[in-house]
Amino acid sequence: MNAFALILRRDLKIAFRRWGELATPLIFFVIVASLFPLALSPEAYQLRDAGPGFLWIAALLSSLLALDGLFRTDVQDGSMEQLALSPAPLALIVLAKTLAHWLVSGVPLIALAPFLALSFYLPLEALPVLVGALALATPTLSVLAALGAALTVSIRGGGAIIGLLVLPLTAPVLIFGTRATSLAIHGEPAVGPLYLLAAFAVLAISLGPLACAAALRVGLE
């Protein structure tokens, strides 16, 4: 079995043994998304216009929360050292870990989103685009959050800074994700923003792990 599959399997196994930790980002997603209508207004017409934004911000923050400890536990128990010294490229290992994390936190988020969207009075016709946009955007968000985690892995209390570092980088994803959703709500084709989200995803997945690996090696020095 190659290293990628090995790490993927191991991380998924560990994640399912700590399934309590899996639920936290999802519950966070629901809570944050629910806070917006409470803070603004429960009026249907306002929620429908602002709904996409709320959903996307909640998804963003939830991704950040989910990936905070992605590397920290490995560094603290010494397994990151061993992985860094192994024959497998560290970037590949990072990609496997990020994928494992996306599978257990990103995918459920994508599955939950339509229900939240309906509670924001989003029309049914917009839901496929929403799901598609989230499916394209969450990998990018995961990679960026992983980068933040890798950069701050050797700082005590580094989790606090991750938001400051990563959220500005996620701005393009946010912009085009909400744009796609808004277009879909108004019945227009959202192909343009979706293509851009896909392009970001490809860019992030190919370059992100390399930056993460470099940051992790510096953290181990």
Binding site: L6, K13, R17, L83, L85, L220
Partner: protein, 220 residues
Amino acid sequence: MAAACLYIRQDPNLSSDSRAGLTVTSLEVWRGERRLFSDLSFELQPGQASYITGPNGSGKTSLLRVLAGLSVPAQGVVTWDGASVSRLAPELRAAIAYQGHLEGLKKDLTVTENLAFYRALWVGDGDIEPLLDELRLDEFADREVRYLSAGQRRRVALSCMRLRRARLWLLDEPLTNLDAAGAEVISAWLREHTAAGGTAVIATHQTDRVQGTAALEVEL
């Protein structure tokens, strides 16, 4: 900021086959803004072991991490089989086993799962059960690592190393938390390893407990 005193005792029966083995040349290592030691050079041929001794804080761990390729020294070069250790090809990396203070075990996986993972990662060989028997861990084979004591975890970590076909062992205080029986088993492994042509560098302040002849002692 004085450089630490280096004292190297060397076995006179040193064979010299230049490219194989571990070669350290003019190594200078800093930690933060403090220079730990400078101008350290020594050579280890296959089949030789070396102790690194010295008080706490003298740089034993830092030296081992440089030898493993995890840290980069301020000056100097470390080569293994002629290749610089900080730029090793993947095939050569599998030949070096580093066991530091941290065990490197996932506490949510069982002992067997951890061992199986590392064996697969490094394409090692060997059966897990006899290894566990040897270290009296057989009853913990299917227990998650978080339920093990410190000494038991250390034994599991060292078993992971044993499963690999590594030719260079870099061990940082391997006997921490081990009782006499455990120390005996590890010493036996070390003797077997060097007898089979392997090389080992051991940082320890318990040279009497690691019973084996070291060709070299580097005192920091």
